[in-house]
């Protein structure tokens, strides 16, 4: 049977469980160190591991199932209070998490990854150790002690342990299996289909309600499935096989001979808090959503086009058309808004993994760190979240590496040995404010001044004249850093300036506050959505181009020939500084109209302000930005394209990369 159509579903769900697992393990470690009750955390961990095992077994991904099974054995000991989680075990389980993640990624490509034997051994050894440790503590048991848990030492490759062959193998009899799929399950029919498939391995199917065809069509009334099959296998064996499928509620197996098996469900069961909510949701591939956004963007453009055409109508006809177009525009705007709402994704998607990463980095550097995330439920457009992932990671690593001091220095400074990093998010009108704050050693404005002078960004006099706040902002200039030593954690050279640039591409800003000895706070302000952006339209020869308003400081009319020159190139006095001026036509490889009376747009370039000479300013425009696909994305200096109401395509320039190529 072809399972490939369920693969993407599996990959998505399994990845969620692995993420949950990773999260749970970091929480476990924290609760071990604080001595708080780890019970609920361990239950959560067990549930995630169990689900991964079950779903990968149903997808016939035996390698993933085997590894998850090993991890489950170990976690089961903690769950049943037979052993306590040691740091070494948490490390091994985190390594398992990483391995599962890689294996799931490989499975997504159609591979059937095999587990790392060393990791299997490591988990097996830890399980044995935990059991031995317990055996040593326990009173000597009379007679051959029955281990409380089956020792997992031999590889559990056959997921079902071999049973002693009965003296007389019973002939096949008719079984009726009733299964109820948990309310929380997003695709109950797929689960039910997997049940039928699993049961088919035990004998011959007589029939099912609903039928297999109905299940494939996604129909499962009442989330209940009844399967009749002829099988010679014992009931508990069948029941165990079904227990590998997650999200099943009640399972009842009835035999013709009156035997009934109603197994207690494993903790994978339905008691998820979001049950009621998720039963009413559907999963949509993100590309589908992106497609909708494109289409609605085109609707906006088409509406503008109709309005444009209407201008040519005789005045008597225009009010009617305008009224219709206004209404259409309002509806499309609303649709756009709703769609943007659907694309909103909680910040948790990118913050979830941060505590784990902070822990790993801190361990490597001999620091102690606790990370707290607040406001992870706040939602942002998916496109912005994607851009946010790397900068956040970078800020976090910086905080651990350069902010938080080693424990002994913290104690000397009268602070708790464990450093604290807070990542908090809040809505502020149409923006999201995201803060990354640490209670570490802070940044030295003096050092930043020195570093900036060394880099030649400022001379000593200018540096001395800067306020404290301005001096701190120097940290976001390329190549300015006060890190005393370069470590492999934060890397060399790419620092806050890279973070700032990434943020600016989505219309965000970065601010920095720091108090020596008390810590650093970095504040990011981000727009909620990116798809519609104001641009300044300019004319170069016959061409029209757009500059993002966020990058533009202003524009002045000039006589090009009358501009002052410095070292052969024209400069423009603007706002107290001399801005180097570039001919936009020449930068783009276009012809200019060639008149002397032109305009200079002053914008933020990669290394400070630049002036761009254009032939004319056409005004501001709310542009529906379309991302550039191949082959246009290969052109440097372009960031997007938009279509005007006249149907004219207009490229939006990436000012920071205009001078680069």
């Amino acid at each position: 049977m072809d399972l490939s159509r369920y693969l993407s579903l599996f990959v998505g769900e399994a990845a969620e469980h692995v993420a949950g697992l990773s999260h749970g393990l970091v929480a476990l470690e924290q609760s071990v160190s604080t001595g708080s009750d780890a019970g609920p955390v361990i239950d959560g961990i067990f549930r995630h591991v169990h689900s991964v095992k079950g779903m990968s077994a149903s997808m016939q991904l035996d390698g993933i199932a085997t590894l998850a099974h090993r991890a489950e054995d170990l976690v089961d000991l903690y769950r049943r209070h037979l052993a306590r989680a040691e740091p070494a075990a948490v490390d091994a389980l985190l390594a398992t998490c990483d391995a599962l993640q890689e294996m799931i990624a490989a499975a997504a490509l159609g591979q059937k990854p095999a587990p790392d034997p060393a990791l299997l051994d490591r988990l097996g050894a830890l399980t044995r150790q935990a059991l031995d440790g317990r055996a040593a503590q326990a009173e000597p048991a009379p007679g051959p002690a029955r281990a409380p848990v089956p020792p997992p030492a031999p590889p559990l490759a056959p997921v079902l342990p071999a049973e002693p062959e009965p003296a007389l193998k019973p002939g096949p009899r008719r079984l009726e299996v009733e299964v109820e799929v948990a309310a929380a399950c997003p695709v109950p029919a797929v689960r039910a289909f997997l049940v039928v498939k699993k049961l088919a391995a035990f004998g011959s199917l007589v029939g099912s309600t609903p039928t297999v065809e109905e299940l494939k069509a996604g129909r499962l009334p009442g989330k209940k499935l009844t399967v009749v099959l002829e099988s010679a296998d014992p009931l508990d064996r069948i029941e165990r096989a079904l227990s590998q499928i997650s999200d099943l509620g009640a399972v009842v197996i009835r035999a013709q001979d009156g035997q009934v098996s109603t197994p207690a469900r494993a903790p994978a069961a339905p008691a998820q808090p979001a049950a009621a909510e998720s039963s009413r949701t559907v999963r949509v591939r993100t590309e589908v959503l992106d497609g909708f956004v494109d289409t609605v963007g085109e609707l906006l453009i088409a509406t503008a086009r109709i309005r444009e055409v209407g201008r040519a109508l005789p005045p008597g006809l225009r009010p009617l058309l305008d009224e219709g177009v206004d209404r259409l525009h309002a509806i499309v705007k609303e649709l756009h808004g709703q769609l943007m709402g659907v694309r909103m994704t909680p910040l948790a998607v990118v913050t979830e993994r941060l505590p784990r990463i902070a822990r790993d980095v801190a361990r490597k550097l001999g620091r102690q760190v606790e990370v707290e995330v607040q406001g992870a439920e706040i939602e942002l457009d998916r496109a912005i979240l994607e851009e946010l992932s790397d900068p956040l990671l970078h800020l976090l690593r910086n905080a651990v590496d350069h902010g938080i001091e080693p424990p002994h220095l913290r104690l000397l400074a009268g602070k708790p040995a464990t450093g604290r990093i807070t990542i908090s998010a809040r809505r502020d009108r149409d923006r999201v404010v995201l803060e990354v704050a640490d209670d570490g050693k802070g940044m030295s404005a003096g050092r930043l001044r020195e570093a900036a002078v060394r880099r030649g960004a400022l001379d000593a006099e200018q540096a001395a004249a800067l306020t404290e706040r301005e001096a701190l902002a120097l940290a976001t200039l390329p190549g300015v850093s006060t890190a005393e030593e370069v470590t492999d954690v934060s890397g060399r050279g790419v620092g806050l300036d890279a973070v700032r640039k990434t943020l600016e591409t989505v219309g965000g800003t970065l601010e920095l506050e720091s108090t020596r000895g008390l810590g650093t706070r970095i504040t990011l302000r981000l727009p909620l959505t990116v798809a519609v952006q104001p641009v300044l339209l300019v004319r170069v020869g016959e061409e029209v181009l757009g500059l993002p308003i966020a990058k533009v400081h202003g524009a002045v009319q000039v006589l090009y020939g009358a501009l002052d020159r410095s070292r052969g190139a024209p400069v423009l006095p603007y706002d107290g500084e001399l801005v180097p001026v570039h001919d936009l036509a020449a930068l783009l490889g276009f012809d200019s109209a060639g008149r002397d009376e032109r305009a200079v747009v002053v914008a933020d370039g990669a290394d400070g302000r630049i002036g761009l000479v254009v032939d004319g300013l056409l005004g501001q425009h709310e542009a529906v930005l379309k991302p550039l696909g191949p082959p246009l994305q290969a052109v440097s200096g372009l960031s997007a394209v938009t279509v005007l109401g006249t149907g004219r395509p207009v490229f939006i320039l990436d000012v920071t990369r205009l001078l680069a190529a």
């Binding site: 494109d294 085109e298 088409a302 191949p630 082959p631 290969a634 440097s636 200096g637 190529a661």
Partner: protein, 151 residues
């Protein structure tokens, strides 16, 4: 099967879109062609793009880059003008690219009479109106994409 000679990449056979460019006839597999449209003004020039790139146009809200096929195959260049020639939109995933051609002559079942070498030309076939140069779509699209910089 085991003793069969190593299989060569199959020559393009089957249904081909035959079209004129200048005074010559060319063909591309029908499966590689999404649609054929007239040049749709207004056009915009592509900054920093090389010779054969004629510009972009708006095809039902999709911005399509238009490359002059004549220049790609070494014939005298053609301008991108309303009412001149046709644009053959390639059916490639997520790739918004069109080739500026003369005019589509029809769809024919063609097999190459003479094998071409490596690269853009797959061979020459005898069509209804005479010799037709069969083109390979992958190298052609790659050559066109290379004009946009970045390789």
């Amino acid at each position: 099967m085991g003793t069969a000679p190593a299989e060569l990449p199959a020559p393009p056979t089957g249904r081909q879109v035959v079209f004129s460019v200048g005074t010559e006839r060319f063909a591309l597999p029908l499966s590689a062609v999404r649609e054929v449209v007239p040049p749709l003004p207004p056009f915009a020039r592509v900054p920093r793009a090389g010779g054969a790139v004629r510009g972009v146009m708006n095809l039902r809200g999709r911005v399509v880059a238009v490359v002059d096929l004549a220049e790609l195959v070494g014939l005298p260049p053609q301008p991108l003008l309303s009412g001149h020639g046709q644009v053959l939109i390639l059916d490639r995933e997520k790739r918004a690219m069109g080739l500026l051609i003369g005019v589509v002559l029809g769809v024919e079942l063609l097999a190459p009479a003479a094998e071409g070498g490596e690269g853009v030309v797959a061979g020459v076939a005898v069509g209804r109106a005479g010799a037709v140069t069969l083109l390979r779509v992958e190298p052609l699209a790659a050559a066109a994409a290379a004009l946009f910089g970045g390789g």
